[in-house]
């Protein structure tokens, strides 16, 4: 019996080992890594990770082979901003898990606990090439807070979807923040400063606080604990901000408190690009937002991505329209940034490796390199062209089914001459 089982185990092991090796051959691979772009390349994937990428690499015996001859191959795309998996239908349809109005916690609000990898929206994004995403708390429209809580990094695969908790602490300043803080952007800054000061005080006097020998804090313990990694510099602030003067204030504040920060929005970031580069503050830029939606965005313009690039600012590309249900449209953002002067390679980097760097997960994702998770997209043509859709997407080495509720709806209504009511058609 024992022998039988060990034989069986060996057999299973072999089968499993073979099944878990995949080779993608023949494509033009944009690694976004040190290997650059490789023609007629081979990518070897074992146990969900890239083990080799290059030309002239032998395909291991028994590997399953995906022929990408004549195709474009890129890393999986990384949506840098949005509420993926936190929202079903944002307007009047049950909870929107990205925001809350409870007074007792703000910074401690961690969206990772609510993330739903089975959300209908997930398949809709991933079949268009999105494999990783920042899913981010939002302040909500009424009764929100300057501090909204902790963002998570997720993968859009079917297993182990949560990559990183507490990837950033979301802060809303500027016009939005002033609304939550009492009607002035000054009050919003003061709210943030008070939160940081309380976290520092709590850190330094935790024992006294627990013995009841320290003053009360406005924040709950859950908030103060969550803020510890912010004041240590490990968790960046993710700051919703547009106005150049607010960005200058942020730069000063991060220096004063020795914090890390990421700007999201950044309509006027191009005006202080050099200062952002010096302060090493990256930007998640809304590429096509070129109108003054508010007085914070008075100098919004197209072409900002290229100005940030030339100044040496680390940036990811997003769009106001692409932040939740349509994260998939970041390829359109990238294409428009190229049309406005950004290089194609930097645009691809801005929707793959750059967001991974911004959120501190670039050791694992963002490029096709040995040792990284095998998130790979195979495209029939230039991925930024709007007529291009992926042929196949792999997440952690697994070729995902290329279907979503939307493709099912489409297929059901492709033939209008059916004599069956829709509910009796394809399921």
């Amino acid at each position: 019996m024992n022998r039988f089982f060990s034989l069986l185990a060996a057999l299973l092991f072999t089968l499993t080992a073979v099944a878990e090796t995949t080779a993608i051959i023949g494509g033009t691979v944009h690694t976004v890594g040190s290997e650059g772009t490789i023609e007629n390349a081979t990518i070897i994937i074992v146990d969900g990770r890239v083990t080799a990428v290059g030309s002239g690499i032998d395909v291991p015996d028994g590997a399953s082979v995906i022929d990408a001859g004549g195709k474009i191959v890129t890393p999986g795309l990384f949506s840098p901003m949005g509420r993926l998996g936190l929202v079903d239908v944002s307007s009047s349809s049950g909870p929107v898990d990205s925001s809350q109005t409870n007074e007792h916690f703000t910074a401690g609000f961690d969206v990772a606990d609510a993330y739903n990898r089975r959300s209908v929206a997930i398949a809709i994004q991933r079949i268009d090439g999105i494999t990783r995403a920042a899913t981010v708390p939002s302040p909500g429209s009424d009764g929100g807070h300057v501090l909204s809580g902790l963002a998570a990094i997720v993968n859009l695969g079917d297993e182990n979807a949560l990559d990183k908790r507490g990837a950033a602490m979301v802060v809303t300043l500027g016009e939005g923040g002033s609304r939550f803080a009492g009607g002035s952007r000054t009050a919003a800054w003061l709210t943030l400063r008070n939160s940081l000061d309380e976290a520092l005080d709590y850190r330094d006097h935790k024992g006294d606080f627990e013995r009841g020998m320290r003053r009360e804090y406005q924040h709950s313990i859950a908030d103060l604990e969550a803020l510890q990694s912010v004041i240590s510099g490990d968790t960046p602030l993710l700051v919703n901000i547009h106005r150049a003067s607010d960005i200058e204030t942020l730069i000063a504040l991060t220096g004063e408190y020795d914090l890390n920060a990421i700007i999201v929005g950044g309509a006027e970031a191009w005006m202080v690009a050099d200062e952002l580069a010096s302060a090493r503050i990256p930007v998640v830029l809304q590429v096509t937002s070129n109108l003054p939606g508010s007085f914070d965005q008075l100098n919004a313009r197209r072409g900002a991505a290229n100005i940030l690039a030339q100044a040496g600012v680390l940036f990811a590309l997003s769009d106001s329209q692409s932040e939740s249900n349509n994260a998939r449209n970041i390829t359109q953002s990238a294409g428009n940034a190229v049309a406005d002067g950004l290089s194609w390679d930097l645009a691809l980097r801005a929707i793959t490796l750059a967001p991974a760097e911004i959120y501190g997960v670039a050791d694992n994702v963002g490029s096709i390199e040995a040792g990284k998770a095998a998130d790979v997209v195979i495209w029939p043509a230039d991925p930024f062209e709007l007529t291009t859709y992926p042929d196949q997407v792999l997440i952690n080495g697994v070729a995902i089914p290329m279907e979503s509720r939307q493709t099912m709806l489409r297929d059901r209504y492709l033939q209008m001459d059916s004599d069956k009511p829709p509910a009796w058609r394809d399921k």
Binding site: M271, N290, P292, Q297, V338, Q406, M416
Partner: protein, 470 residues
């Protein structure tokens, strides 16, 4: 088009006369303006005072031309003069015309957006600028979007850079019947009269579904349900039909004409076929019900806007000759948008119905060509091939049809307005941009030409005005 202007002299000629001719006066308000060569000697109130920018006779040489009427002509020329298209074809020549080498470029008719809130919900979106929804009663057919339009909205200029030469400015969708929409040429002036598209019919904005029932139901008043919505439309049409009947009877000398009623005057314009219905409606079942209401009261639904589920009823829409104005891929932001698919416009088109891509958005209006491209690519995945010369119709001639101006613009046929765009390449490539935009034969925009390009008053001193200086 017959001119239905009535001089202010006539209107002011006495109370009795006013009453007698009130039906005729009302007619003057169904069309935005009259031919400048019209026989009438005065100008009606709110009439178009649009004047084209100055332009020269121009010959564009050697481009790939999508005519908007289904044709693609390679290495073709376009000649226009006096604001009108003169000819499209090969090896054209024209004495004295300015010649533009357009080889390697693509030329299309000017892009038309049938659904915009520029000017009524302008940038910046401050509360003081929120002029698009008269959300004080579920039926406000008495309001006209044009009376909210702020021509200094910087969005007109950014839309122009996206090749948009005409658009309809609509009231919002808070109300069952939200008021009149207005079609304008994208030449912002000092007031809305300077922009009004000459001779374009008015639109009437109606809205199905979640918005009206949320706005009014939330205040504990009707409508609070979809059936409440439908009762609201029907009640309004019953009133309008009665008003129309009294007007018609008075014209025949049978009884007194009713006191002029702005609210019912606009609805009567719809019943008479002079004002076109633009109905915000997402779900297939609701659009179907709206078609029944139109049947009941004898009007036509010109266009369903948003029409996220139009693909489910393409046959019904084709039969009703109703256009669907759609986004390429907006979905899921509200329950009635849950079933949005990217192939929507392609499936509507395949069913033989009129497909239009619209924006409803000050950013989206800048790239309707890109939105169209998304649908082309999605359709190709399921074997529906939509050629560029056909796809362009969704944002040009079909949009013109939706607005009732298809005899004036939307294609590059002779005698149409010379509204056209020279693109740097295939307009359905993400890398292409509008290089030159002509409106009524005048160069209104040129890529990178800060000397020429317009800057609205609001944008003075900002990046938009300086081409990006700090």
């Amino acid at each position: 088009m017959a001119c239905s202007c009535y001089s202010s002299r006539k209107i002011l000629s006495g109370k009795k006369v006013i009453k007698k001719i009130s039906a005729l006066v009302a007619l003057a308000f169904f069309s935005q303006g009259c031919d400048r060569n019209g026989e009438e000697d005065g100008a009606a109130a709110f009439e178009s005072r649009y004047k084209a920018l100055a332009g020269d006779a121009t010959l564009l040489k050697g481009a790939t031309v999508l005519t908007g009427s289904g044709e693609r002509l390679d290495n073709a020329d376009v000649y226009f003069a006096d604001g009108k298209i003169v000819a499209v074809g090969s090896d054209l020549s024209a004495d004295g015309a300015a010649v533009v080498d357009a080889s390697g470029k693509w030329i299309t008719p000017g892009v038309i957006d049938v659904h915009s809130h520029l000017g009524v919900y302008p940038s910046p979106g401050t509360r003081s600028h929120s002029d698009g929804n008269e959300a004080t009663a579920p039926v406000t057919s008495e309001v006209w979007a044009e009376h909210s339009v702020w021509p200094q909205d910087p969005g007109f200029v950014t839309a122009l850079a996206g090749g948009v030469t005409s658009m309809q400015l609509l009231p919002g969708s808070a109300n069952l019947i939200g008021g009149r929409g207005i079609t304008v040429k994208n030449v912002p002036g000092r007031n809305v009269m300077d922009m009004k598209f000459p001779g374009a019919p008015y639109g009437l904005k109606m809205a199905c579904g979640e918005n009206p029932k949320r706005v009014y139901g939330g205040r504990g008043q009707a409508p609070s349900t979809r059936m409440g919505n439908v009762a609201g439309y029907r009640s309004a049409w019953i009133e309008a039909a009665e008003y129309r009947d009294k007007l018609e009877a008075a014209e025949k000398g049978q009884g007194e004409a009713p006191t002029r009623d702005l609210r019912l005057e606009t609805l009567t314009g719809v019943l008479n076929g002079e004002i076109l219905v633009h109905n915000h409606c997402y779900r297939a079942d609701e659009m179907s019900v709206m078609l029944e209401i139109a049947k009941e009261f004898g009007y036509k639904v010109g266009t369903f806007h948003h029409a996220v589920e139009a693909y489910k009823i393409g046959d019904l829409l084709a039969e009703a000759d109703t256009c669907s104005a759609m986004w390429a891929d907006w979905w899921g932001f509200k329950m009635e948008a849950y079933d949005g698919i990217r192939e929507n416009a392609a499936l509507v088109d395949k069913a033989g119905a009129c497909a239009v891509i619209h924006s409803d958005d000050e950013i989206g209006i800048q790239r309707l060509n890109q939105e169209t491209a998304k649908v082309m690519g999605a359709a190709a995945r399921v074997g529906i091939d939509i050629a560029p010369e056909h796809a362009i119709e969704w944002i040009t001639s079909n949009a013109a049809k939706s607005l009732g101006v298809e005899d004036k613009t939307g294609t590059l046929e002779a005698d149409k307005m010379a509204d056209l765009v020279i693109w740097t390449g295939n307009p359905f490539s993400v890398y292409s941009k509008a290089e030159r935009v002509y409106i009524d034969g005048a160069l209104a925009y040129e890529l990178g030409n800060n000397e020429l390009n317009p800057v609205t008053d609001f944008s003075l001193g900002t990046a938009a005005a300086t081409g990006g200086a700090k």
